[in-house]
């Protein structure tokens, strides 16, 4: 809805801005297209949530609100467990904060990527390709000075929506996108993923118990298959991609064995450590 209104406004504003409206629609369409596999994955992943919520004596409305307002899988499952165990709400909220504070890192990366692209200009500008690993950003020249608050009216609100939908999965997809990363693309991607999460929650609550066990279990592979499908073409293209991904997997496995931090932070640490190691090894000498 937002997308439509905004692009219409811009389309009417001036003939030169019509291109920007067209581009916004393209961004939204691309976000939806890339969001579809997440929708499938989330639909499958949230069916157990609806099912467990029902088993735990939570109402359909409450289960729906969990998914609609929190929209963070791990912490929702955790909350169900803790509720069952009779843990107080305050403690559950604190635990949720600890689990979900990792999104701070993901939002930082996404916000930085968006800034890197500079302001949205009215059409005509060639798309910048995201740097391949092993190449530095220096040859790309200076990033233009951008002040986010310089955006026109409604566009100012976009980051508030974009922020709500940041999850491990939308993050992974958004950050892998070549070229520009715009708020509209991100929001379209997130809304698509979100609708899968909501639909799965309700479906799981109402019908989950009726699904055969094999069908429920087999959906567990969906999100991993999606990650693998994003990663595989990259492995084909660049050798550093393989080392970076494998390194992160090894770090993640080791951190899991060490059990020093929570699972959510192990994930973040593995991502950041492997990327830092990559910058160290591929950073300087591989520059062309």
């Amino acid at each position: 809805m937002k997308v439509r209104r905004r692009s219409k406004q811009e389309g009417e504003a001036a003939p030169g801005k019509a291109k920007l409206g067209e581009r916004n629609r393209q961004e939204a369409r691309e976000g939806i297209r890339l969001g579809l596999p997440v929708l499938i994955g989330y639909f499958s992943a949230s069916i157990p949530f609806g099912l467990l919520a029902k088993a735990g004596g939570i109402s359909l409305l409450e289960a729906f609100l969990f998914s609609a307002l929190v929209f963070a899988g791990a912490s929702q499952f955790m909350a169900l467990n803790l509720l069952q165990a009779g843990v107080a709400a305050g403690e559950i909220i604190l635990a949720t904060f600890l689990v979900n504070s990792r999104h701070l890192v993901m939002s930082t990366v996404l916000a930085a990527r968006m800034r890197e692209n500079g302001p949205e200009k009215a059409g005509g500008e060639p798309e910048k390709t995201r740097e391949e690993p092993g190449k530095s950003g220096e040859e790309q020249g200076e990033t233009p000075e951008v002040d986010r608050s310089g955006r026109p009216g409604p566009a100012r609100l976009l980051p508030f929506f974009a922020a709500f939908g940041v999850t491990d999965e939308t993050f992974a997809l958004a950050v892998t996108r070549k070229g520009r990363l715009t708020p509209l693309f991100l929001i379209a991607l997130e809304v698509t993923a979100y609708s899968g999460w909501l639909a799965g929650t309700v479906t799981g609550f109402l019908l989950g118990a009726a699904l055969p066990a094999e069908a429920r279990a087999s959906m567990g592979i969906a999100l991993y298959a999606m990650f693998a499908a994003i990663l595989t073409p990259e492995l084909k293209k660049s050798r550093p991609a393989l080392f970076l991904a494998a390194g992160a997997g090894i770090f993640h496995t080791l951190l899991g064995k060490l059990q020093l931090f929570s699972a959510g932070w192990n994930l973040i640490l593995a991502i950041v450590l492997a990327a830092a190691a990559g910058s160290y090894f591929y950073g300087e000498e591989k520059e062309e």
């Binding site: 559950i92 986010r148 892998t176 298959a225 999606m226 084909k236 997997g249």
Partner: protein, 102 residues
Amino acid sequence: MPELLLIAGMAVVTYIPRLLPFLLLTGRPLPAAFKRFLAFIPYTALGALIVPGVIEAIPGHPWISLAGLATAMVIAWFRGGLILPVVTAVGTVFLLLAWLGG
């Protein structure tokens, strides 16, 4: 009702960390080293999201999980796309589970 308060509280503490960087990160250009670091994040994120979690994707059936992952990778390698690999992987796992009798 206490559940609704709990949900509201969880919603707030989940939203704040997601939002803050979007509000705080404005202005100055990013250092080149940080941009290079950002360029590596997609690959490390995907690696860490897949490994080691995929082993537990189908609880109690690590080999079926790996077979599902391999199916997705083979399809993605030769055909590309996202939906086809995902659907094929789920189908493969379903057939293997059904064949094993759960």
